[in-house]
Assembly symmetry: D2
Homo-oligomer: 344 residues x 4
């Protein structure tokens, strides 16, 4: 099957190439960017001798004729327009931006400051949280690939929220991300001398991933109150850890919670639940599509602490995008994603 | 005035030398360690030509005769014994370990797994949170210098807890520390290849600083319930950020909270409260004795987010120790501590 | 084909598992360590659900009966003894230590401070610099896998030294390595707080890789004088850069040198020569088996600057070991090694 | 005495404030930038409550009337013009850029790609290598403050080059710098995700500090041939290490060389020579004005390895600038510079 990648020069685009170049079924047919004609190795010298295609301009008509799947690794605002251009064409679309995720158009406009795409496309676009929307994804033609923070958060919260074990108020999420999550756009916040040996909090309770998380939590349990959501920048390249605090409705032991999680994810190869007393660190998933989860109930407070880690460019972006494309096409969801975490 | 430092070869001891060597009143009379006779430059080559004293063995009788103040930068378990040895002698003691902080002996034993020191010494030892125990510190002969996490946490929580603005349940503290906080003892967790480009959670709800924080919070408001306290290791050398979540009793604006904090700390030169919309990053206090605080009320949840940052070796250890020694001796509390944060 | 790995809990051992677990021909039959019976996931939690074998004790007789190839990822001193134990058995041996590399026993003893292995084994052991000893490797039963520094250095120097373009005196090598090169043994030099935001030189002109480099250079050109070799520790996890300075015998242009290198390595898939004006950075090979080379002639001095980068755990250890095992068994040398560098 | 700082919002400017704010003689009278009227705390929040002046526009006439010394922390190209504007005014000028360093105008133009300043000013400007130009600096009105690399390199080479112990050909300098050396201008090379866990070489034999180094070396020994000079970017914030290789004319022991260096620098408080077998790491000077030097003669090659480390923002920029201003004004050269390296 032939795939096209638009927005190839960003970190998400580079990661898509790393995955798709060795994929057993998908073959990279063409890569696209506004900077057409440039060999990709000008931007990514690490691809020399491996994959040296030149970027082409973005012509949705041509792309749809030639490819079976198109990945949009383009920024919010751009992706929405491309999704519209591809909508009536015979091609599967996996969008890595936030443009198709928020179903409520007003809410999108409030958090993203762009015009939303039209209702029809929003309705068609299936939220690509692979482990939880599997059946819809299999039938979908358009995937709204989840954000990096929402992926870590939702995989971590799903069993207690769906299982109705969490008080509806009181979900607090303290999330930390590596700098690649901010993409390649230069900014003072991303400059080496500013972030090295540093740690900062940003967008306190104002991150655009808040409505995405709440939308899905309420889909599982419509009584869920607004969440508290803090995002921090770690002086690392890749990886997210979400530390989450939940008030339990009942007096449960850590072992019971862990059992629930292990049962929930037993058939999901990319979610790994740590045994009692163990918590994952970010390095344990680096370069891979895994989401690792650690859990502990504090008997002193009745609160559950959930730790969820992913590689933001893999399970938080390109990895899950390929996982979804696999599902859409009846391919083993692990195809092309057998990356063992790179350690150390 | 003459000071002695015991436990000089650790990071806390090194930082005490960095401060005391240029102090306008205190003069380093002697440095001590179990590794006596070694020049300190063998352990700290950065001190060459600056301060080249040799370590002496620890003889409390001699030290008490020769020095006016002794700093104990020794590990928990060792410090308690030294405090006992110095108790009946004519010397001021500032202990940087946790041995004198927990007034309840059973609680000490539970969290520290050592035998506690005797009640008389525990009662004499004043908890050295400089900004809040100033009057007692001025009269003290023994100081239990606060832990690094408790310093960041308590300075951040004090105004709302003392002001009775926080619900007694629901205080959640998500704390992150640089690796120097773990001291110089080699461990896999502190190895470069294990921590670089990594981030890990540890001692979830089991950190020995929990009873220290709760003891002080209950001193201010005895209705405070057990806290939720998570500690994480950052891939940085120095610095702590505590991100704290508090349920407000009333509907307050961010600006009202900030005003309260600014008024509270107006006469405290080492606490700086950021204006609305700003939060401190760790680098903004690195190498200095400052504690910087940022605040935001989330109207969607009625929750207050408090961000408090310190340099764990300065305000979280050696800096506050000298600040306390200044106060004990009627010296300007800023003496020797005019370090401007080193940026970048 | 069945392979065994001894010394599995080190970084080299972990990397062998990362490669071999997905290898199309080799299958990990057993893993061994002095810490037998422990599941490998106790040491490497990132392998959970992927590869969960338990370590077995080292019984050369059993290993040789069951496996076709054994990888020794054991320290110098241990490897030599294991090589002796396997010597008369029916199994291929790939040793990642320095024990079989130095053919002159006195020289080995001088640099390694261990007793050398016997002459017969030393003579049998083929130096596994894959690109340059290909034919001997194909026929070998024992491989002395090259050191990390020598791999980067020799691939960078080979074309000019073999081509007789370098003055015999005056080769200067300024090498820099990530901390994983020092292995997992805890030391002050490897502690996070000591190496983070730091850079240090070590073993100036005393590194045990000097005789290995000189032995091979003199094999190519026996007039080569002693080299100057400095090694530095970089605050990164993986990767080596060797910056090398060579006096050219003739007045050559950068383009001529680059052409020579490109021709030399045209059939060697893991060596990539950058075009004029470009130099590789370490990240461009991270996680992969590539060695990337950049070149420049300085007309002001007549000196050639050669920059060679590798991932020390891959092309500098486990990657080249598997490449050699592929060659020994008539398998495509790229088998199992199609890792695209992980960027960023 | 009153000082003014122009170009205050860069890293060099910030470091000047860190030094001058606590200086016993100099007082910061005004700070200047093209971004006038902004409080400096907008750019440097770490200065809150410490130093909160607003930036003023650059009016040389007013500055010269009000201040005694002006520091130009402005980029190359801007500094030269300011030096011209201040030339006929009654104020001392210390320029941190490269504009006044290269006395040969053609050479300046070749390496800097700007028009040079006029000959009269170039002739007046004294090269501020404090340890070696002390007498001229004391009488100077304009200082061309040395570059960061030249400071580390020249302090390391001076004793052997002035002592005529080095062969005139064959000086090779392999220099490594932290990222702050590139200043605050955003670039892909300085982005966190690009430099973290990475190491790169740049401007091979093309760095604009080459003519500055050669000019001074030839001033000491006019037979010195062109140098080989490589610059690398380290994933650290501050610090430079220059590893230098020199062919010795005579057969000397390491101890003799070290003795020469120790004697040479005995009266220079900011240069520290390590004893035999020790080499400085970058952290050992971080945040301070020290230059630390380690030395070793390799008897196998007759070559001397010199290792010189500085903090590029201190001895390599703002620290040496203040040291020079001290000398110009008959103040103790250490005034305001008693920073102990911050370790770890």
């Amino acid at each position: 099957m032939k795939v096209a990648v638009i927005g190839t020069t960003g970190y998400g685009g580079g990661e898509l190439i790393r995955i798709l170049h060795n994929h057993p079924i998908f073959q990279i047919h063409s890569i696209h960017s506004t900077r057409d004609e440039m060999p990709i190795t000008e931007e990514f010298p690490h691809l020399e001798d491996i994959f040296e295609d030149s970027l082409k301009k973005v012509d949705p008509k041509v792309i749809a004729e030639e490819a079976d799947v198109v990945f949009l690794a383009t920024p919010s605002g751009v992706s929405g327009k491309l999704a519209e251009a591809f909508y009536d064409k015979d091609i599967q679309v996996v969008d890595l931006s936030g443009d198709l995720r928020i179903k409520n158009q007003e809410e999108y406009q409030y958090w993203y400051k762009h015009d939303p795409v039209n209702t029809e496309i929003l309705t068609s676009a299936v939220y690509g949280l692979s482990e939880w929307n599997r059946e819809e994804i299999k039938k979908a033609n358009i995937i709204a690939n989840p954000g990096c923070y929402p992926t870590a958060v939702l995989l971590g919260l799903a069993p207690v929220v769906k299982g109705n074990l969490s008080e509806s108020t009181g979900i607090i999420i303290d999330a930390k991300s590596g700098v690649s999550g901010a993409g390649k756009t230069l900014s003072k916040a991303n400059a080496f001398a500013e972030m090295n040996d540093n740690f900062r909090i940003y967008k306190v309770n104002q991150h655009q991933h808040i409505p995405e998380i709440e939308q899905q939590l309420r889909f599982w349990d419509d009584s869920i109150s607004p969440i508290t959501f803090s995002t921090h920048l770690l002086p690392i390249t890749r990886g997210i850890m979400a530390t989450m605090y939940v008030e339990l409705k009942e007096d449960l032991d850590t072992s019971q919670i862990i059992e629930l999680y292990q049962e929930t994810y037993v058939n999901h190869p990319f979610v790994r639940v740590r045994k009692e007393g163990r918590f994952p660190s970010i390095k344990e998933v680096a370069g891979s599509n895994y989401c690792d989860i650690g859990l502990q109930v504090d008997k002193r407070t009745g609160r559950l602490t959930i730790v969820s880690v992913i590689d933001n460019l893999m399970k938080g972006a390109a990895g899950q995008a390929v996982q979804n494309a696999n599902l859409m096409n009846g391919i083993d969801e692990k195809a092309g994603l057998n990356f063992i975490p790179i350690y150390p």
